[in-house]
């Protein structure tokens, strides 16, 4: 049903990376009045009567990697779920490429933003290629099959995320880092202008943390808009253009990594004293939590 909502049909799929839907010409001229790809305004999400998000606003433009930081339970995962449509909204709005999310079908949402989940049920013996192919779900019609364009997108995504070499292996045989790259490839295969990442590095060793984030950085530099929940502050500071500090369901600080890490709100949000220095190796700001006596 919903695929009819997208004028242009087949041609549209090939053009997907450049911008989907209403604002085709706006995408080419990157002037200031182009709406941000992801815009969250006064968002309220309640769960069991409690406001998990209470008036959160933020925006992510194309070519921008915004890091969502904050203590456990701050509402980072909830915010991502509210943006990608897996969770309902109780107030405010989420706009994707200038259109209210609630006016879009789930299929249309999935053509605008792709999500790399924190974890997924990969206990099934699906070959890697089939999992990546699921990233094309929003493009394949019910009675149709994958087209040449789909297969090309799948191949490109696997190449990009460096999972091509184990395309035929079952996901269950992969290591945590490899599996994370498969999920990343699945999100890339959707060829959406927006990317949401929920703790993409949570279960990875430091080598794979950097590799994964460098991949994210690279696709953002090519024009995607990405919002990533990252609990490791130093890692977030290293790769993100901007950080948004979320605590208690509200935005406590926002700005460049240096601004946010130096903000008093940070120590307050995490409930620790913290010292901010420059990382001697890479020069990005680095925060160290201090014990009371230090």
């Amino acid at each position: 049903m919903s695929e009819h909502g997208d004028p242009g049909g087949g041609d549209d799929r090939a053009a997907a990376p450049d911008g989907i839907g209403d604002s085709d010409d706006a995408a080419d001229t990157d002037d200031a009045d182009e709406p941000p790809l992801i815009a969250v305004r006064d968002l309220v999400v309640a769960r069991g009567g409690e406001r998990v998000l209470d008036g959160v606003s933020l925006s992510v433009d194309r070519g921008e990697l915004v890091g969502l930081v904050g203590p456990n339970g701050a509402g980072k995962t909830t915010l991502i779920a509210a943006v990608n449509g897996t969770l309902g909204i109780d107030g405010g709005a989420v706009e994707l490429d200038g259109t209210d999310r609630r006016a879009l079908s789930q299929r249309e949402v999935a053509r605008r933003v792709a999500t790399v989940p924190q974890e997924t049920n990969t206990a099934f013996e699906f070959p890697v290629e089939s999992v990546v192919e699921m990233g094309r779900t929003a493009y394949v019609s019910r009675f149709g099959t994958t087209t040449e364009a789909d297969r090309e997108a799948i191949r490109r995504a696997m190449e990009r995320a460096e999972v091509l070499e184990f395309a035929d292996r079952s996901v269950t045989t992969l290591s945590g880092g490899e599996r994370q790259r498969v999920l990343f490839a699945r999100a890339l295969a959707a060829e959406t202008p927006g990317l949401l990442l929920d703790e993409p590095t949570a279960s990875l060793d430091i080598n794979h943390q950097i590799r994964t984030l460098e991949l994210v950085r690279a696709v953002v530099d090519e024009g995607k808009a990405a919002l990533a929940a990252i609990h490791d502050l130093n890692l977030a500071a290293r790769v993100c253009d901007r950080l948004v500090l979320l605590a208690g369901g509200e935005v406590r600080a926002e700005g460049t990594p240096r601004e946010v890490l130096s903000d008093d709100a940070l120590a307050e949000a995490f409930g620790v004293r913290a010292a901010v220095n420059d990382d001697p190796a890479v020069g990005s700001p680095m925060v160290t939590a201090l014990r009371e006596e230090e």
């Binding site: 897996t86 792709a114 999500t115 049920n121 699906f126």
Partner: protein
């Protein structure tokens, strides 16, 4: 991916050939043994090609099931005329084939519905009756056998249909749909149907309906034998009208479910993931649940509660082809057809005829245990 379709086509062609072979052999097995060649000849002779239509003065004269009641007379030509004795022809066409084909359709329906339910619930113990459909059918059928008047009171508007010799089937089918829909309503809130709630509601309703059936059994008096026989699942006395109904319902609903194979795959990864990938999870769940319940209800209505086909066939096939529903659904469907035809052949070829439900359980469980021990087990 083309590779997936190649696998699907390869497995399906092989399993379809197996089904045809099983059906042919089965039609030759019985008190009178008939060679496979004679079976094929008898079936070929029955092939009728419509060659012309003319308006007939008397309604229904010489009409087939499609034209009954219409003032049409269809001229048929029989392209084949192999020499087959009248006895053999009657045994194959009147006695054995309806039963065999009904077994095939019921097997296809149960195996497909079972595959869908296992994927849907992400639960290896799920079977076609998991949301109470089979139990509902049992209440309908047993009520009809024990106290038809009570069924007529409830299903008043369907009275003309019920009187037409299909009362048992219709009562069972209505019971199945009522139970399935009831469980769905109980488990739904605010337009959402959590799978875990559905599973538990299904178990509770099954238990309750089981109590109703037990109570009815206690009061079944003379008809207890018939009731028990129905509850065990059987295909004896299958008629061409039942085959015709199954030949319409089963393939159509099965194809609808095939179209949802991709959704089932994505749902296996969890509903949140599925929604993020662009699947309207609640809608897909409703369709999958409704279609597989109607399919199960139809199968149970004509054959009673044949256990294990919908549980073991999907598992066995999954052990061989993996979890991808685009391959699994068609292969499971065809394997289910062959399995039930073979089981029913065994059930009717012994000294005393057995209800096929006993055979499917007795033969299916050890075969499944063998697969479980010898194959690497895929997680579901």
């Amino acid at each position: 991916m083309t590779r997936v379709w190649r696998r699907t086509a390869g497995y399906s062609a092989a399993l379809f050939a197996l089904l045809v072979a099983v059906v042919t052999v089965s039609a030759g097995v019985g008190p009178v043994r008939i060679p496979a060649g004679t079976v094929v000849a008898a079936v070929a002779n029955a092939v009728a090609v419509p060659v012309g239509v003319e308006w007939a003065a008397i309604a229904g004269a010489g009409a087939g099931p499609l034209t009954a009641g219409l003032p049409l007379r269809v001229e048929f030509a029989h392209p084949f005329a192999f020499p087959v004795s009248e006895t053999h022809r009657a045994i194959v066409m009147r006695v054995r084939l309806p039963r065999i084909l009904l077994a095939a359709f019921v097997g296809v329906g149960l195996a497909t519905a079972g595959t869908v339910m296992q994927g849907f619930f992400r639960n290896p113990m799920a079977d076609p009756g998991i949301i109470g459909v089979s139990s509902g059918a049992a209440v309908g059928a047993v009520s009809w056998i024990v106290a038809p008047a009570s069924v007529l009171a409830v299903l008043g508007p369907l009275r003309p249909l019920l009187a037409d010799g299909a009362g048992l089937q219709i009562a069972a089918f209505c019971g199945a749909l009522a139970a399935g829909f009831g469980v769905y309503l109980i488990a739904s809130r605010d337009g959402r149907t959590p799978v875990a709630t559905l599973l538990l509601a299904g178990v509770a309703v099954q238990t309750f309906l089981g109590a109703v059936v037990s109570y009815l059994l206690l009061h079944s008096g003379e008809s207890i034998r018939r009731v028990t026989y129905w509850l065990m699942g059987h295909l004896s006395g299958a008629s061409w009208s039942e085959v015709t109904a199954a030949a319409v319902v089963v393939p159509v609903l099965t194809l609808v479910l095939f179209a949802y194979a991709r959704d089932l795959n994505v749902l296996l990864l969890g509903e949140t993931d599925a929604v993020a990938l662009g699947v309207d999870a609640e809608r897909s769940k409703r369709v999958l649940l409704a279609v597989s319940s109607v399919l199960t209800g139809a199968a149970v209505a004509v054959s009673g509660v044949i256990g294990f086909v919908g549980l073991i066939v999907p598992h066995g096939v999954r052990l061989l082809v993996g979890p991808d529903h685009r391959v699994l659904l068609p292969t499971s469907a065809l394997a289910g057809g062959s399995f039930l035809v073979a089981a029913d052949t065994f059930a009717r070829s012994g000294v005393a005829e057995l209800p096929v439900g006993i055979v499917t359980a007795a033969a299916g469980a050890p075969f499944f245990l063998y697969l479980l021990r010898t194959r690497e087990v895929y997680d579901l």
